[in-house]
């Protein structure tokens, strides 16, 4: 690995509410020369903790098809090629469901009569700013929109390779998560030692393995629940990078929108060590 190249680390989880944002913001702010990138565009919340000054905003559009009735003969080719069931053609009438459209452009490309024109549809915004020395980027999907990946891709375009990037990913195991963690150097999976936490961790680990990304686990509220998460990680050779206890103090800090590393400065070192461990795992993958 080249020395100059900075890591892009994504923070994900199968289950929601395990502490992705807590890890992402505290890790980012414990480091220098860093970017914090909130890719959870359906519910971005990193800004609550780091209170950035927003310096620029960009509107994100996707192209959606509009049929020129004068040219369309209702052949149905657009319906056949749409992978997302966003088009129906019945009685030679083309019905478009823009909310299902991914903006891939296949219908426009394959229409034999050039009857499809594309219209820009606004789906969200990207905001760029900073908080102290930390660069900040996040995306916001417009209310009522379902297609978050184009907004996530637009957010990721602002990754600056000269800085370490910490990405807060959405929860789950579907397209938005894949889009957020794709092409990152390392994935932190945050979990809690409960049956739900473990079930969703296993699903997330399968996804990350399929994507061939190096990853490790952080167990949040680690003194709750049972030992099954530890046993799973040991059995699967997944490094447990950090444990955060179930603490009323930490819960209070979070509820006030504060940073753990500011109120409990001893955590600065813990998060910096987390980063070092990731560098090591990244260099010597198991």
């Amino acid at each position: 690995m080249e020395k100059s190249r900075k890591l892009i680390i994504s923070v994900a989880s199968g289950k929601g509410g395990t502490g992705k944002t807590t890890i992402a913001v505290n890790l980012a702010l414990s480091l220098s020369n860093v970017q914090l990138i909130d890719c959870d565009v359906e519910e971005p919340d990193c800004h609550i903790f780091i209170k950035p000054v927003i310096e620029s905003r960009h509107t994100i559009f996707i192209p959606v098809p509009v049929v020129n009735q004068n040219k369309c003969d209702g052949c149905g080719r657009c319906q056949e090629v749409c992978l997302y069931n966003a088009i129906a053609v019945v009685n030679k009438e083309v019905i478009i469901f823009p909310e299902l459209c991914h903006g891939c452009g296949s219908c426009t490309y394959f229409c034999p009569h050039k009857a499809i024109e594309e219209e820009k549809k606004e789906i969200g915004i990207v905001e760029i700013g900073k908080s102290g020395e930390t660069q900040f980027v996040h995306g916001k999907l417009n209310v009522g929109m379902m297609m978050s990946p184009p907004v996530i891709r637009a957010v990721k375009k602002h990754i600056n390779k000269k800085k370490t990037a910490i990405i807060d990913a959405p929860p789950g195991t579907s397209c938005p998560v894949i889009t957020a963690i794709k092409d990152t150097d390392f994935v932190i999976l945050v979990t809690e030692p409960t049956p739900f936490g473990l079930n969703d961790l296993i699903l997330a680990a399968e996804v990350v393995r399929k994507m061939r990304l190096p990853f490790g686990v952080i167990i949040n509220r680690s003194d709750l629940g049972n030992k099954k998460t530890d046993e799973y990680c040991a059995r699967e050779n997944i490094p447990v990078l950090m444990r955060i206890p179930f603490s009323k103090k930490i819960a209070e800090i979070y509820s006030r929108g504060d940073l753990i590393i500011k109120v409990l400065p001893e955590y600065n070192k813990e998060f910096q060590e987390l980063y070092k461990k990731i560098e090591q795992v990244k260099v010597n993958p198991t």
Partner: protein
């Protein structure tokens, strides 16, 4: 008249499946001669737009009416554009549903009766 009944299985004894877009089978029944065939619903595993795809398939089969439990807004739009009659609120066996249709016990549905994603189990 060809009628499509959303079904949990491939026979007339199967129960009507309440989901239009995500039922496992359609029974395509011909009211003229009483013949029927079972068609697997290939759109029931679609990530999104199952109702739209199902509406398209039903329309392509030249069906004139649909009997089902519920129909969502997108499927309703496709079926309406195809001038397919919709009888929703059906339950019990497919055979009973056909008998009820023959006796004129169903009233045509005027609008979608569930929201999007009803059939996705969440």
């Amino acid at each position: 008249m060809k009628v499509a009944i959303t079904s949990s299985g491939p026979t007339l004894q199967s129960n009507v499946d309440p989901r239009f877009g995500r039922c496992p089978y359609y029974i395509i029944y011909d009211t003229e001669d009483g013949s029927f065939k079972a068609v697997e619903n290939k759109s029931n595993l679609a990530a999104g737009g199952a109702g739209i795809q199902a509406g398209q398939n039903i329309s392509d089969m030249k069906v004139e009416a649909v009997i089902t439990g519920n129909v969502g807004p997108n499927a309703f739009r496709v079926l309406s554009a195809a001038f397919i009659k919709i009888y929703s609120g059906a339950s019990g066996s497919v055979k009973d549903a056909i008998e009820k249709l023959k006796k004129g016990e169903y009233r045509e549905t005027a609008g979608p009766d569930v929201g999007s994603h009803f059939g996705m189990g969440r």
